[in-house]
Symmetry: C2
Subunit: 194 residues, 2 copies
């Protein structure tokens, strides 16, 4: 997260649909992204009532996404935020800082995704002890070894281990083609993902 400063943060709007806005990650404290917002914004109300966000940032074809629980952070982080992000000083001069509240995303599941490499590369992670996401596509023992999935995979990320096909989760696009193609229905989708 240290490399990606500018992120998009999603909450749920009054109409029940998702709502997003650009939010800078001001600090990373003990692995937790720290951001702030003003009490006058709908975003503030949503943070207080929903206690959850999903955020993502992109840089040079790589993205980091993280979703999880949010709470107010130590107010004394405000000083450090303005020190380390001097551009904030002209947006919120000292007389206006009382409008701001500091928040932290303290427990959640994330994924790093590199769309530049071939095959693509992804890796999931957690912060604050959240349970790790299960993989989305795996091959069961129903695999007959026909090899159709190895052929169809656009990232060539399915390997043959002598007994059955194996999907390399760190290179899987989750496109679903192997799942659709397998004549044995041996490819299963085990959990939701991006």
């Amino acid at each position: 997260m240290k490399r990606i400063h500018s992120t998009i943060v999603a909450t749920i709007g009054n109409d029940g649909h998702p709502q997003v806005r650009a939010i800078d990650i001001m600090l990373i404290e003990s692995g937790k992204p720290i951001f702030l917002t003003a009490r006058g914004k709908a975003f503030y109300d949503q943070l207080i009532s929903q206690k959850f966000v999903a955020l993502s940032g992109v840089k040079e074809g790589c993205s980091i996404s993280l979703r999880g629980k949010v709470r107010k952070a130590e107010p004394n982080l405000m000083e450090k935020i303005f020190e380390q992000n001097p551009y904030m000083q002209t947006i919120y001069p000292p007389s206006a800082r009382s409008a701001l509240t500091v928040f932290e995303l303290y427990e959640g599941q994330g994924e790093y995704f590199d769309l530049n490499s071939r095959p693509i590369y992804r890796q999931s992670f957690t912060i604050g002890g959240a349970e790790k996401n299960k993989l989305q596509y795996t091959v069961t023992s129903a695999c007959s070894g026909c090899g159709l999935c190895l052929e169809i995979c656009p990232q060539h990320c399915i390997e043959w281990n002598g007994k059955k096909a194996r999907i390399q989760p760190e290179h899987c696009l989750h496109c679903g083609l192997c799942f659709e193609r397998c004549p044995q229905q041996a490819v299963v989708r085990t959990d939701e993902s991006e």
Copy 2:
């Protein structure tokens, strides 16, 4: 939207909380952002069932956010997408393109936000005939002309028109300080915003 290719798109996950992922805007067709995804992804299922997304992209301190209705687009846009976005060809080679579906955001409300300029600058817009968002903070005729809001505004975007204070909506941070400070409660919050 033409300048921002890489966006973050939010839907609602199975757990009822927002979910985000990086999605490139492949084309703009008649003002509508066009993107694609694979049937194997949870994102695909969410697009089909929710028919709504919120998306946002950032570039050099400027952001564009847009939220609204989504539907499948003309499948014949696929060809144009791969022509104009050649990097896609190595992610989804021709044999794998059948996994993909093209979507368009055809009606929605958006906002352009420039955090670089002082005062900050924002402008709302709509596509596909959606109703425009109302402004968030305005001053009613209860204004007594005391000038406290002009002093507190961190962006100095409240002006005095001879009769009452007026908030310049294109420069308003929505921080809420004028709303909190006004002794006459003449500042009202009229609609949700970012």
